[in-house]
Amino acid sequence: MIKVKIDSEKCKGCNLCLMYCPKGLIKESKILNKRGICPVEFDSSKGACIGCRFCALMCPESAIEIIDE
């Protein structure tokens, strides 16, 4: 299974990953990080990640890692 690991402390909540995820598997978190920003989180309940890397390519903070378990 492919998993998207998002560093929630690095995320600044720009939502560019969320915009480009073709499967809509990234959503805004309701929990604030240490800097008071709502980061994004990976939500695999809607389907399976296809590992296209779009989210990671668009992340200005390089906060996304994708692994195949």
Partner: protein, 244 residues
């Protein structure tokens, strides 16, 4: 467990000072990926500009030096001529390269210095508060042209890439952007080619990257990348401008 994507090892773990959605972070990672793939980390020297990317040395593990506002290409010329075996590149914004540093840029390009230039163009002075830059597009609103840039009052946007392409010393110029994943991949290819040209001693190479500045465009990051797609790349078309 297989790794599908991981940020470049040359990029430090520091949290950048850039605003949310800024294109600088994407371009920093691309530069690091290219340096890592070409295996030139030990002999790469970057010259950071004055502007938003002034603290770039905190984010890169290779050696970085800082130049006075607009003068990275003068410093790059010195380093490259003194140590021709090093890979020297400048990372400059539009206020740095196209405004205060126009003279250094034009003459370094005309001399055909064997260096690489990453020119990040967001059409606005980000660090100082969003004033109009030479590359600000007509009708674009900034802090110093609140009703939009007017050609009669403010002149026309400076087309730096087209301007430098006519010079004989220039070997490669491409304009790319980072507004969607496809554009990011193309930008990486262009940056790689610009570095390869320097390794092959071909001469002056520049990649102009159209980047988003959500804060001073007054848009959300998502709206800013949509603006590039729908508006900006129609006015400043992407593609290879010169490749000799």
């Amino acid at each position: 467990m297989k790794e599908i994507y991981k940020k470049s090892n040359i990029l430090t773990d520091a949290i950048t000072h850039y605003c949310p959605g800024c294109g600088h972070g994407i371009i920093h990672n691309l530069v690091c990926e290219v340096v890592e793939e070409l295996g030139i980390m030990e002999k790469t020297i970057a010259i950071a500009p004055v502007g938003c990317a002034v603290l770039a040395y905190d984010y890169w593990k290779f050696d970085t030096t800082e130049a006075a506002h607009g003068r990275p290409l003068a410093v790059a010329t010195g380093i490259k001529r003194a140590r021709p075996e090093l890979i020297v590149f400048t990372y400059q914004g539009d206020g740095d390269l196209a405004a205060i540093g126009t003279a250094e840029t034009v003459h370094a390009a005309n001399r055909g210095e064997n260096v690489t230039v990453i020119f990040v163009n967001n059409g606005v002075y980000g660090m100082t508060g969003g004033q109009m830059a030479p590359t600000t597009l007509l009708s674009q609103k900034t802090a110093t042209c609140i009703n939009g840039r007017n050609a009669k009052r403010d002149g026309y946007p400076l087309k730096v890439s087209e301007m430098l392409a006519v010079l004989d010393g220039v070997c490669y110029i491409e304009r790319t952007s980072v507004h969607n994943p496809g554009a990011v991949i193309k930008t990486k290819k262009a940056i790689k080619k610009a570095f390869q040209n320097q390794i092959e001693k071909k001469g002056f190479s520049m990649v102009e990257v159209i980047s988003q500045c959500p804060t001073y465009w007054g848009l959300s990051p998502v709206e800013a990348v949509e603006k590039i797609e729908k508006d900006i790349i129609k006015k400043v078309p992407l593609g290879v401008i010169k490749d000799v």
